[in-house]
């Protein structure tokens, strides 16, 4: 059984069909990349998997370890082990980062049947993970993402990923807005989290990120479905030839 299995998924926002029968399967331990032109529905896929209410699923299924994801609330999906790293992490003025992290970690632990972490244990846990990602302690004292640079916001996403210990990570254009140094730090953070019981779906427009997070499988998405699947070499081909061939596909 695949870790994440998406079959013939169809979704729309308002009256616009965006996903038109998308299928893919990610096994535990694998890293899959989805590449595709702008407007192909890549971000929509990530939001639909995470449960954003603006999107209406009109057909198909998505399961995590065989369990239906689509009928769950967003927080229940997170507790089951799905994690979405946002393309545009949200600023939350007035909510301290530490309060946010602790509330999230303990909510997820509670639902998974684990004991909540005590304050000293939690602080130790966060500091250790933050250090690995080169995240300044000062950042942790600020409200969530407020005043963070693009790179800091993305590193903060990876930190949350590390804290929540998900099974399936979806990274939505994590490379957008990053310079090469920030990109390397983020990629290292992700690579450190690669594990045989964990899967990744890396959504990106450019091949650049995939030099640092090397995928096992590359999918090409166009007009709301997967139109081609191959190995890492497919990413290089796309980089050389562009998406023109896929704009009229499907």
């Amino acid at each position: 059984m695949a870790l994440l299995e998406v079959k013939n998924l169809q979704a729309r926002v308002e009256d616009k069909e965006i996903l038109r029968g998308l299928s893919l399967a990610v096994n535990a331990g694998e890293v899959h990349a989805i590449m595709g032109p702008n407007g192909s529905g890549k971000s929509t896929l990530s939001y639909v998997l995470a449960g954003k209410s603006d999107y209406e699923v009109t057909g198909g299924t998505a399961t995590l370890e065989g369990e239906d994801l689509l009928s769950l609330e967003p927080d229940e999906r997170a507790a089951k082990g799905l994690f979405l790293a946002f393309q545009y992490p949200i600023e939350i003025p007035g909510v301290a980062s530490m309060t946010f992290f602790r509330t999230a970690v303990n909510a997820v632990r509670k639902k998974r049947g684990d004991e909540e972490l005590s304050t000293p244990d939690f602080l130790r846990f966060v500091r250790e993970k933050a250090k690995e990602l080169n995240i300044d302690q000062d950042m942790l004292k600020r409200p969530v993402n407020v005043g963070f640079s693009g790179g800091e916001k993305k590193r903060n996403e990876i930190l949350q990923m590390a804290l929540l210990e998900p099974k399936m990570c979806v990274l939505d254009e994590t490379d957008s807005g990053l310079d090469i140094d920030a990109l390397k730090i983020v990629a290292e953070g992700v690579n450190r989290l690669r594990a045989k019981n964990r899967g990744f779906l890396v959504i990106t427009h450019y091949q650049r990120l995939l030099d640092h997070i090397v995928p096992d499988v590359v999918h090409v998405m166009a007009k709301g479905k997967i139109v081609r699947t191959g190995g890492p070499e497919l990413a290089h081909e796309l980089e050389a030839k562009g998406y023109a061939a896929y704009d009229n596909a499907a």
Partner: protein
């Protein structure tokens, strides 16, 4: 030609006039009270055609006057003794039960040097200038709440802080209502802060749920030059109460003033803050958090009057409205011709949680000087769906995510409280409000 229109008196207006004129009126405040009664008889309760009361029509909201409260008996004192509103802030407490000073629930022993606390009756015997102060700071202006309070003038407290005195321990004036039948309660507190003195005054209002009692309390503050005063107010009246109150302040040159109000109680409440910048270079921060549910109606009205140059005022008000509650914020900043270099900024933000909740935001600027900076902002909105989704995508359940966002919304106002113990106590009261919402 002006046609004289005589409005019909309402039942409540007649009851007020009758009940308050029957009270004994001792010297030296007899004239004051009689004048207030006359004014009230003439002008009565405000209604929606009076601009300042447009959103809070007292003629409609206050149908009948509850009978005047009697002197509290032992049972009332015992009940009041259970009140725990801000009981853990290490303050010196001055307690009024059903409007009457309760010595047994007050802590007046061992007053710090420079601090004098007297009942209104005692203070009137020794301070010949007091009647003038009690008459109001702007007597030409009619306000029904002030007129009724003055007409009923009897119980109260006068706190006198000598020039230069630094009173570290907060002074907590508690207004507690007890019992199961509706009563009318009046109270007046006067705080005089001498030159270069410093103090923190806390005022709380509490009473039983399900009893339609009515309170009318006024806090008058006179802050001398270079003095520093912190005010924290908690209005936690019972859920059927009608609460009318004012904080009237006059500040001297270079004084520092911080005021915060947490409002969670009463079916209907109106709090008016006339604040006079009477000297140069005053800094004032006036803030508040108002948390409403059910069908509560709460009106917060500020009148900040810059009469002298160099004043800086900041107003920050946050209102959270659940269910069918209604909030009113009226904020007026006046900058008079002499008040050059005034810097005034006012913000009122409302968060609508209930589908049928309503917020009326009315910021106003009246500027008569040319070299000033003034800004006001008013926002009304619901919880942001994108923020909620972000929190929920991290595993935080919906109610908890909402609580986190609501807390961050009103937290900004609570953060302005200087004293940490008081700030924590206020925050925990606000969090309790949220917790009650989350289990609903």
């Amino acid at each position: 030609m002006n046609a004289e229109v005589k409005m019909m008196r309402t039942a409540a207006e007649t009851q007020y006039s009758d009940a308050l004129s029957a009270l004994p009126a001792p010297e030296p405040i007899r004239a004051l009270r009689e004048k207030a009664l006359r004014l009230f008889a003439e002008k009565g309760l405000p209604h929606r055609r009076v601009e300042e009361w447009k959103y809070t029509d007292l003629r409609v909201l206050l149908r009948e006057m509850a009978p005047l409260a009697g002197k509290p008996d032992a049972r009332a004192i015992a009940e009041a003794n259970k009140n725990d509103v801000l009981s853990d802030i290490g303050a010196r407490e001055i307690t009024f039960v059903n409007g009457a000073f309760a010595a047994e629930l007050s802590k007046l022993k061992g007053l710090e040097q420079g601090l004098r606390i007297s009942t209104l009756a005692d203070a009137l015997k020794s301070d010949p200038t007091l009647p003038q102060l009690l008459a109001g700071l702007n007597p030409s202006k009619y306000d029904a709440v002030f007129a009724l309070n003055t007409a009923a003038l009897n119980e109260g407290v006068v706190i006198d802080i000598a020039p230069g005195a630094q009173i570290a321990k907060p002074i907590h004036i508690r207004h507690i209502v007890t019992g199961t039948s509706p009563v009318s309660v009046f109270g007046r507190a006067v705080v005089k802060v001498g030159k270069k003195a410093q103090a923190t005054i806390v005022q709380s209002h509490a009473g039983p749920d399900a009893v339609a009692y009515q309170t009318n309390t006024i806090l008058q503050l006179s802050v001398a030059d270079d003095a520093e005063l912190d005010i924290v107010r908690v209005q936690a009246e019972g859920d059927k109460a009608i609460h009318l109150s004012m904080t009237i302040a006059a500040a001297g040159a270079k004084s520092r003033f911080r005021s915060f109000a947490l409002t969670t109680g009463a079916a209907v409440s109106r709090h008016t803050v006339p604040f006079a910048f009477a000297g140069k270079d005053i800094r004032a921060l006036i803030s508040g958090a108002t948390l409403l549910r059910g069908k509560q109606h709460t009106d917060m009205t500020l009148e900040v009057d810059h009469a002298q140059p160099g004043g800086e005022s900041r107003e920050l008000f946050k209102t959270v409205l659940d269910d069918e509650s209604r909030g009113v914020f009226q904020g007026l900043i006046v900058v008079r011709p002499d008040a050059q270099k005034t810097d005034g900024r006012m913000m009122s933000a409302a968060l609508l949680l209930g589908e049928s909740a309503e917020m009326d935001n009315k910021p106003e600027l009246e500027i008569f000087a040319d070299d000033v900076q003034c800004a006001h902002g008013a926002t009304t909105g619901a919880l942001d769906d994108d923020l909620l989704f972000y929190l929920r995508a991290r595993g935080i359940p919906k109610k908890e995510a909402e609580s986190l966002l609501i807390q961050s919304f009103f937290g900004e106002a609570i953060e302005t409280i200087e004293n940490q113990k008081i700030r924590d106590a206020v925050m925990s009261r606000a969090s309790a409000w949220l917790a009650a919402r989350a289990v609903k």
